[in-house]
Symmetry: C2
Subunit: 287 residues, 2 copies
């Protein structure tokens, strides 16, 4: 049983609390708003909550779960209240800038990224088993305390998540491909369609839109603040992916313009083969 | 009760047969392979089947359900066997070239496009209720016999589908936006990722891929022959969409390169608002 603190009681913080309490850990929460603490207690996400950082004293492990832009300022705010032996981790979805800053700030820090979420946000959206079978990346560096890694890894296993290790830079480049680029590709699909000047065509397209358009446009229609922050905090990797994506798109456009249907067929076969490699047939879908 | 013929017993033809028989119609099937007829009878998709076009004599309505590239040649093959009063329709997903050709060939022809499908194909994939609540577009022209329209419309209603009317050209432009463009946008995402030269990053990306990448890459990893035919038969509209999509993508790339995060935020808000317009919150998903 660990004494665990959660700073920021939103979807991720609240869902962590629900599962960690279910595993027998004692969980306290810190939020700026007293009502959020009350809701988190009522939902069973924390044992106790407060708006005062004193609540973080004498804990084994603290999760930083504010929006990515607030992780560093919040860490600075709470640092005076942490005991020297407390392990600190965060759940930010980009690690390249946060990890070096936080490890200077706190010797027992390990970067982390639970790759789970829903379309909803806030404490009301918190749910049990959110992290089960989802990847959870830890991003230790040469400076990371190995006992701190073991502590966070143990809790990740408690959550039933798929534990992976990566350097902060590799993590950021990989998530740019599978998380941040899809948001922009998908947003561009919505925007291009929205800008179709022929209104009857646009209206008809909306009436005909079925599962293909719905799936392809889902992440592009998500939280704009989150999409913006992904691009802002991971701009080098996102730019790399965008440039390569545009080159691939240009190849497809060229095949259509040259009416090279054999080449298009081969290209689509390559796409199908790669997807089969990432999601082998018969594998139950990872949610 | 109508006497209905289905030419081509795949996913669409077989699923039509199952529902139409359930509504009390008498359904015969024409296939090139005797085994397919046997399987279709065994699945309850047809009352009787044959490899001989004589089976199409004295029917009220015939559905042409071969792959899009075979619709015209198959129509020419069966024409000598149809009774003059038989209504002819097809299920091709592009209408601009097929409709003028078929209406010259058969006076009682009405173009159609049931917008339903699964990842599977063939008679084994045929299923009941495939068309329920799905859009079913009819594309009559100035030359179309109005009694023929009423006949097909009645059967579409029997299927529980959402009946819509559009000109062949408008239909093709609308499906380019919501069906054909998403395939190419999604395939480009898979291909760009597959071409990441850094193998450890590519492997890590595959391990981390979760629901966002899965949804955005789904249609791009589908049947290459189908994707190729969509682009080939609908090339003008697909090209129009691709060019507009590239311009929209270029705007996003420019915002990232100029680090104009406020502008990116506004752009993503527009994408979110458009998706909310197409799929209002709380609406049950259309499958």
């Amino acid at each position: 049983m660990l004494r665990i603190g959660i700073v920021g009681l939103g979807l991720i913080g609240g869902s962590l609390g629900i599962d960690l309490r279910a595993k027998g850990h004692y969980v306290v929460g810190l939020s700026r708003r007293p009502e959020t603490c009350e809701r988190a207690i009522a939902k069973g996400a924390i044992d106790w909550g407060s708006t005062e950082p004193e609540i973080l004293r004498a804990l084994d492990l603290v999760f930083l779960c504010p929006p990515i832009g607030s992780i560093l300022p919040v860490a600075l705010d709470i640092r005076p209240y942490l005991s020297p032996e407390t392990v600190l981790t965060d759940v930010g979805s980009v690690k390249g800038e946060i990890v070096p800053a936080l490890e200077k700030l706190w010797p027992r820090y390990v970067g982390g990224h639970p790759m789970a979420g829903t379309a909803e946000s806030g404490i009301e959206a918190a749910q049990a088993h959110l992290f089960e079978n989802a990847p959870y990346v830890l991003t230790p560096t040469l400076y990371t305390d190995s006992a701190a890694i073991d502590c966070v890894a143990g809790v990740v296993n408690d959550l039933g998540a798929k534990l992976l290790y990566a350097t902060p830079a590799d993590h950021d480049r990989a998530v740019a491909w599978i998380s941040h680029l899809p948001v922009l590709v998908s947003a561009a699909l919505l925007l291009a369609n929205a800008q179709e000047a022929n209104e009857p065509i646009r209206k008809l397209a909306q009436q005909l839109a079925s599962s293909g358009f719905r799936d392809t446009s889902r992440v592009g229609g998500g939280n704009p603040a989150l999409g913006r922050m992904m691009a802002e905090y991971n701009r080098a990797a996102v730019r790399h992916c965008l440039i390569h994506y545009r080159a691939t798109l240009d190849d497809l456009i060229r095949q259509v313009e040259q009416e090279d249907w054999e080449r298009l067929h081969t290209t689509l076969e390559e796409a199908q083969a790669y997807r089969e490699q990432v999601y082998p047939s018969g594998t139950p879908p990872v949610v």
